[in-house]
Amino acid sequence: MDDILIRVEDLHFAYRAGEPDAVPALNGISLTIRRGEYVAIVGHNGSGKSTLARHFNALLLPTRGKVYVQDMDTSDPRHTLDIRRIVGMVFQDPDNQIVGTLVEEDVAFGPENLGVPQPALAQRVEKALQAVGLWELRHRPPHLLSGGQRQRVAIAGVLAMEPACLVLDEATSMLDPASRAEVLQVVRRLHTAGTTIIAITHFMEEAALAERIIVLAGGKIALEGSPQEVFSQRERLRELRLVPPTPAQLAEAVQARSGVAFSPLPLTREALVEAVHAHAVPLPAGGRP
């Protein structure tokens, strides 16, 4: 099937496999990511999210099982470069990702390695820096920026590579709310234009933006479905060390107390306002009730 971008078959992975201190991290994962899909991966600390993500662009190779990107086996070294061109990854720790001595050089590094010539290169760099709001800081050394600024440099570096599939591993964890909203806006725009998005996050309001959520626990898929399906299973979520987004928690508490039933369950703050508005006592014309 050619609308499948990534196919994972019974993936097992252990760090230091075969050694006495081996750490099993993935214990039999099978999944497919369709081209153009927007998937969120969530799960407890140490559940295997980053390890799984590193298999999507051949940074890690399966101990057992297979990972295919556009039908290319990631274990075949002849495909490695092509795979990395398709799947771009923003890491959890931006400092491991920053290579250039100036912000603009850092962002140019990826596309330059892909062989993008001038002036296209300069255009890509500018577009990426504008998208994350860092154009003004392009002549600064990245290691002298604040935490949130460095995180945005890392995001711009991958955007400039224009990958068909963008993997974000907690890429917004240290951004202030407006910067986070901007990055999410960029992500949504890319998704609309056809980019496949795989977002790893501990922010459930962010996960609710995806079309599908995959929940990992102990290196296995514990739950999978639309945000509505996943976030309505409150008890199960808690066992998996997750909590529904705050708007959904508020909505459930309001339902329980007032007897009003919201359908579907609002997952975002905007949806919660609409749901309450729809069930509220109508306002008298021309003023507050």
Binding site: G43, N45, G46, G148, Q149, T246, R269, R288
Partner: protein, 287 residues
């Protein structure tokens, strides 16, 4: 009047002054933190939050006008006992990677107590305690290389290393970034407990406004190197225009109530806790 435990007065700081890379980070910042408080500090990226906090344990020293006074001592005084100061004020940095010193998790958490010359038994007690507080299983992790951890696990080790010093003042610079949702809830509970039961004074920087709303008794808002607002979370989060202009936004609770108020509903915009918000929402629903 009691004296604040930490008083920052009109502090200025410039990185790499006199070079082409000069960056003015603090432009007259002032803040007071009293013993036993939990103070929140919010502000957009680059506002100067981390720079300010690094002054509180002498990592950065005042070079320009301004004072940092901790427990009655002016840190501009070159004879300040930094060892004592760092035992009193513990900072969990924004990037835990920069905080891990030792190869093994157990050694890393024991680093501070060892420096202080504690007995082996006391060190072990502290390491076990700190790992318990952050929810790291002792047997699984004590001998694990610090390089062989997930992002959230590394964060927990960094927090535990600071806790093991049992500082009087705990400074958390985005310390909970990367913790999973339930761990984040449990960690907030632990912070409240350290504050209430052990009298630890806490300063918390977070880009998660809900965390600030849940923890802080008082909040400072910082922008471009100085404070631009201060008050209880309910007060600060009701200043919608300021927060929006700084790109900080509000916790879900304040945002939802503010939005409904704009639509004409008579809800209390100062409600901020989950239970209060639920109550406000129920009031305007048809029963």
């Amino acid at each position: 009047m009691t004296e604040p435990l930490i008083a920052i007065r009109d502090l200025h700081y410039t990185y790499l002054p006199g070079t082409p890379l000069q960056a003015v980070a603090l432009r007259g910042a002032s803040m007071e933190v009293y013993a036993g408080e939990i103070v929140g500090l919010i502000g957009p990226a680059g506002a100067g939050k981390s720079t300010l906090l690094q002054h509180c344990n002498g990592l950065l020293r005042p070079t320009e006008p301004g004072h940092v006074i901790v427990d009655g001592q002016d840190l501009a005084d070159p004879t300040v006992d930094l060892r004592r100061l760092r035992q009193m004020v513990g900072i969990v940095f924004q990037h835990p990677e920069r905080q891990l010193f030792e190869t093994l998790v157990g050694d890393d958490i024991a680093f501070g107590p060892r420096q202080l010359g504690m007995s082996r038994a006391e060190i072990r007690r502290r390491v076990e305690w700190a790992m318990r507080v952050v929810g790291l299983d002792f047997d699984t992790f004590v001998d694990r290389p610090t390089a062989a951890l997930s992002g959230g696990e590394r964060r927990k080790v960094a927090i535990a290393g600071v806790l093991a010093l049992r500082p009087r003042v705990l400074i958390l610079d985005e310390a909970s970034a990367g913790l999973d949702p339930l761990t984040r809830e449990e960690w907030q509970e632990q912070v409240r407990r350290l504050n209430a039961d052990e009298g630890m004074t806490v300063i918390v920087v977070s880009s998660d406004m809900e965390e600030i709303a849940a923890l802080a008794g008082r909040v400072y808002v910082m922008a471009e190197g100085r404070m631009v607002d201060e008050g209880t979370p309910a007060e600060v989060f009701a200043h919608t225009d300021l927060l929006n202009s700084l790109g900080l936004g509000q916790p879900v609770t304040s945002w939802v109530l503010g939005e409904l108020r704009r639509r004409g509903y008579d809800v209390d915009p100062y409600a901020i806790r989950l239970e209060e918000t639920v109550e406000e929402l129920c009031r305007i629903l048809r029963s």
